[in-house]
Structures are given as C-alpha cells and as structure tokens.
C-alpha cells in the first residue's frame, strides 16, 4: 500500500483505461461461480436469498447490481466483501478468496456509519488508522481527501453537525482515502434526497476519474437512474431468491456529468428498456 502512494499523477477515465500488461490483470477483478446463500427465515424455515449467481467483473469497470428490495443483492456484495461467509460456490476477489478487512478493498454502506465521537477528518483517517499509517500522515491525507469531496472546511465537524449529504461524502472520503483497488458500494446514496444524490454521484464520478489507477467498483442500488449514470455494466437481479436476470452494457462515454446525463436521450432509452424488466420483477409478474 505504501509503494502505491507513489503512483504517477496521470489520470485515466475508467473506460479508456489501457489494458494492464501484467498477467494478473488479465484475470477478472471479481469472479463468482454458482453462489448460493441461505438465511434462517423468520418462521424457522431456511430462506434462499441468493440463487446460483455467477459473475465476472473485469478490472477498472464500474458495475451496478440492481433489483427489487430483498432480492439478495446486498448479500452478494457482502459475500464479495467477506462480511458474509460463503456457503456454496466459489468466489475470487482480486485474485484471492473473499476476506473482510483487506487494505486494497473499501466498503461503503447505505448508512454512513460515521463514528459520532470523531470529527470528520478523524473519521476519514480511521480507515488509514486500521492499516497502521502514522498519525500525522493519516490526518494530513484525511484532510486532503475531505477537500476533494468539498468538505475542506468541515474537518473539525462532528457527525451531529453535518447534514446527511455531508455525512455520506465523509463516508465516501473514508472509502477512497486508502486508494483502494476495489470499491464496494452498498446503496451509498440511499439516505440522500434526490438532488443531493445527483450531486454526490457527480462527485463520485469525478473522484473515480481522477484516480491514478483505475478503480474497480461494484455498487448495489435500487435506483435505476443512478445505476445508468455511474456504471459501465448493469446486472439486473430477479426477485427473491435472487438470480441474475439480465446484464446491460451502458455505452455512454466518459467522463460523464451526472447532471447533464439526465438530458441524454441514450440515458432515457436505456432507462426505458431496463425499467420494463425491472418493473416486472418488482411487481412479481
């Protein structure tokens, strides 16, 4: 991780990232085969949440998983994050079995999960702290990252003093400050009002485009417009028990502007097309 910090300043957008010459890079960033996952149900009977999910995500891509609530999409993400134990199937993440707490992987949750007793900068620094980065350096990098997400003036603010949108941006800064290779986002904008949501999405697009090394991102969402705006590929999951229903490619060039995008006719075509299938799943037809 320390060596990574000296990466060249050159910026690539996720789409036109050059193929990495190393052999490691030719394997997918995430490769899941036949994942099944069962939870103990409320009535005592086991409930199948994830049903035979296989997927491959190449390095540097932004992939969204979308589907009706309770379709198991968060479970898939938690499996990849190593936060849920694999019951059946195989899963390789950045060339290793899934495991929680790897420094090159960042997870952001639907709720910001900021620690109320730390100010914004120390919340961002928390991720570095767990990786053993020295105190002065982590505070400095955290403040730097806060500036990037537009909260440079709020380094000393506590959670209780920040708006919902600001908290989510701090959480985003916390997941990006470690310069992860893989970013796992679980409905990271769900708690935001629709206008703030579009703004923070734009922020994320800008941030990912500005990373020295392309970041592979897997985002779980139930917001179709959000999925289209951010992703290269959208995976549509069925109702519970969740299985992959359809995969869509989003051919909107980068860099994208999250606000202007909403006026793009291709955006609307895709939205219409995916919505047809999604609506069926939501309604249970």
């Amino acid at each position: 991780m320390i060596a990574e910090t000296k990466a060249p300043e050159a910026t690539h957008s996720v789409m036109d990232a050059p193929e990495q010459p190393t052999t490691r890079r030719s394997a997918p960033a995430i490769s899941a085969r036949r994942l099944h996952h069962t939870f103990p149900g409320r009535d005592g009977r086991p409930m199948l949440a994830v049903n035979d999910v296989s997927l491959e995500i190449p390095y540097g891509q932004f992939v969204s998983v979308i589907g009706p609530s309770g379709c198991g999409k968060t479970t898939v993400l938690n499996l990849i994050a190593g936060l849920e134990r694999i019951q059946s199937g195989t899963l390789s993440v950045l060339g290793e079995p899934a495991r929680a707490g790897r420094p090159e992987i960042s997870v952001a949750f639907a709720r910001d999960a900021l620690l109320a007793w730390r100010d914004a900068a120390d919340n961002v620094a928390l991720a570095l702290e767990m990786q053993g980065v020295a105190k002065a350096e982590r505070r400095e990098r955290a403040v730097e990252m806060l500036k990037v997400v537009g909260l440079g003036d709020y380094a000393h603010a506590y959670r209780g003093q920040l708006s919902q949108g600001m908290r989510q941006r701090v959480a985003l800064a916390r997941s990006l400050v470690t310069r992860p290779k893989l970013l796992l986002l679980d409905e990271p904008f769900a708690a935001l009002d629709s206008q703030t949501r579009v703004l923070v999405q734009g922020e994320l697009l800008r941030l990912l485009d500005a990373q020295a090394e392309p970041v592979t991102t897997l985002m779980v969402t139930h917001d179709l417009a959000e999925a289209i705006a951010l992703s290269d590929v959208i995976i549509l999951m069925s109702r519970r028990p969740g299985t992959i229903r359809q995969v869509y490619r989003v051919d909107i060039p980068r860099p994208r502007d999250a606000v202007a995008l909403r006026a793009n006719h291709h955006f609307h075509e895709l939205h219409e097309q995916i919505w047809q299938t999604l609506a069926k799943e939501v309604q249970g037809a």
Partner: protein, 278 residues
C-alpha cells in the same frame, strides 16, 4: 398580537424594551424554578405559623435557616461531613471498580449475560437496608458497614450501566469495523468503548447519588458518626429544625458533586451534545 394592538400606544404604557426584558425574565426557567421553591417554602412557613401542622415536628423554613446558621460552623458538623464523605468515597470507589469489572464481562459476553443476569436481578431486589444490622454484626459500628452498604448498591447501578452501554447493538459500526479489518482489541477500544462512554458516565453520576443513599441509610440505622447518625439523633430529640438543617447540608453536598461531574462530562463528551441536537 392582534391587529388592534398595533394601534395602541405602547410607549405610553411602558417603555417597550423594559417590558420585553421583564417578560423574558419571567419566562426564564430560573424565574419559574425560584417561584416554585418560594411557593413551597411559603406554604410550609404558613402551615406552621397557622398551626395547621405542629412546628415541633415539621419545623419551618425560618427555623431551619437559623439552625443552619448555628450548626454549620460547629466542629461536630465538620467531623460528620468528613466522616460521611470518607465513607461515600471509599464505597463509591470500590463499588464502581467492582461494577465496571463485572459489567464489562457481562456487557461483552452474551453467554455470561444470559448466565448471570437473573441472579444479579434477584440479588438487586434484596432490600439492602434490612441487611444493615447484619453488616453491623459482621463489621462493628465503624465505617465498614456503611461502606459495605454503599458498595452493595453502587455495584448494581454500575453493572446495569455497563451492560446497557456495551450491549447496545450497533450493526453499522460492527460492519464497518470488520470491513476495515479492525482487530478485536481495536473494535473494543476504537468502536465499542467510545460509543459506550456517555452511558457509562451517566452510570458514574448515578452511582454517586446511590453511594450517598447507601451510606446515609446505614448511618441512620446504626452508629453515631456521620450526617445520617446526626439526623437520627436530632429526630429522636424532636429537634426538627436541626434535622432539616443537616438535610440541607447533605443535599447541598450531593448537588455540588453532581454538578461537578456534569461539568466534566460535558467537557469530555462534546460530540454527544451535537448528536442530541441533530
């Protein structure tokens, strides 16, 4: 404000700024508080003056004030206060230490909680004051039975606070801790303990009040030193004025200590106030 009011010449009645200031003063919490206290003391004084109650037993505020004036500067009072405070300090320290240790074990282990909680609940429902004669038989008439009494009360207050503080479920930060690769120790020190601090601190505050409660209760029942014993003595001598004067001293001490703890608490837990506001 009705529209009619706008045609009334306020200046003619009273300068508006002053009127506003008066109204603000009357609406302040302090003014209302003082008013309530004044009404209660007034009713007390009046009842005694009119002989609705017998002042021999109830005393009256003016008499309590003069008793205070008389007994506070005496060496007996200084000795009693010192004695009681020493018992409270020892009982509080031991009780808190024990409570923190037991509460930590129960708060962090669901198994231990499930195993021990029913026993603790049963023990806690024992009327402790009834045990004082037994404590006296065991430990004599000195400080020890009072200290033991305080410990038996404080321990449970502190265990309850620790268990409440540490066992509150927080899935969000638990997931965050795991995803950041926090060790068990880091999870405890960086996530669980800071989050538990406000509840633990309010447990410390409550424990202080209960330490006084335990000590005074034991003093009233046994022995001849300390504020509680003094109250028993005055009650037996039908000196209600002196009795209430001691009570006032006691209340003043506990209030001062509690306010002190709150001050420290507010300093340490600035973030907690922001949370409450948001």
């Amino acid at each position: 404000m009705s529209t009619v009011n706008e045609f009334v010449d306020h200046e003619a009645i009273a300068p508006p700024a002053r009127r506003g200031a008066w109204r603000a003063a009357w609406r302040s919490p302090v003014a209302i508080r003082l008013l309530i206290i004044a009404v209660i003391l007034g009713a007390w004084q009046l009842s005694a003056a009119m002989h609705w109650v017998d002042p021999l037993f109830t005393s009256r505020p003016t008499q309590v004030a003069s008793s205070l004036w008389k007994i506070v500067p005496t060496s007996q009072m200084v000795k009693d206060v010192g004695y009681t405070l020493a018992e409270v300090a020892i009982g509080y320290t031991i009780g808190v230490a024990l409570g923190v240790i037991v509460g930590f074990v129960l708060g962090t282990s669901k198994l231990m909680r499930d195993a021990c909680q029913p026993v603790l609940n049963a023990l806690n429902s024992v009327p402790r004051i009834a045990l004082v004669p037994l404590f006296v038989a065991w430990f004599g008439l000195g400080m020890t039975p009072r200290v033991v009494m305080a410990v038996t009360v404080v321990v449970f207050v502190m265990v309850t606070a620790m268990v409440t503080a540490l066992s509150q479920p927080d899935r969000d930060s638990a997931m965050l801790a795991r995803s950041l690769g926090a060790s068990r120790w880091q999870t405890l020190v960086k996530f669980q303990l800071p989050r538990a601090t406000p509840v633990i601190v309010s447990g410390l505050e409550l424990s202080l009040i209960y330490a006084f409660l335990g000590v005074i209760a034991a003093e009233i029942v046994s022995g001849s030193n300390g504020l509680g014993s003094r109250m028993t003595e005055y009650a037996n001598l039908f000196q209600a004025g002196n009795f209430f004067a001691v009570l006032v001293v006691l209340t003043a001490i506990t209030t001062l200590l509690t306010v002190g703890i709150r001050r420290v608490e507010r300093r340490l837990l600035r973030w907690h106030e922001f949370e409450a506001d948001s």
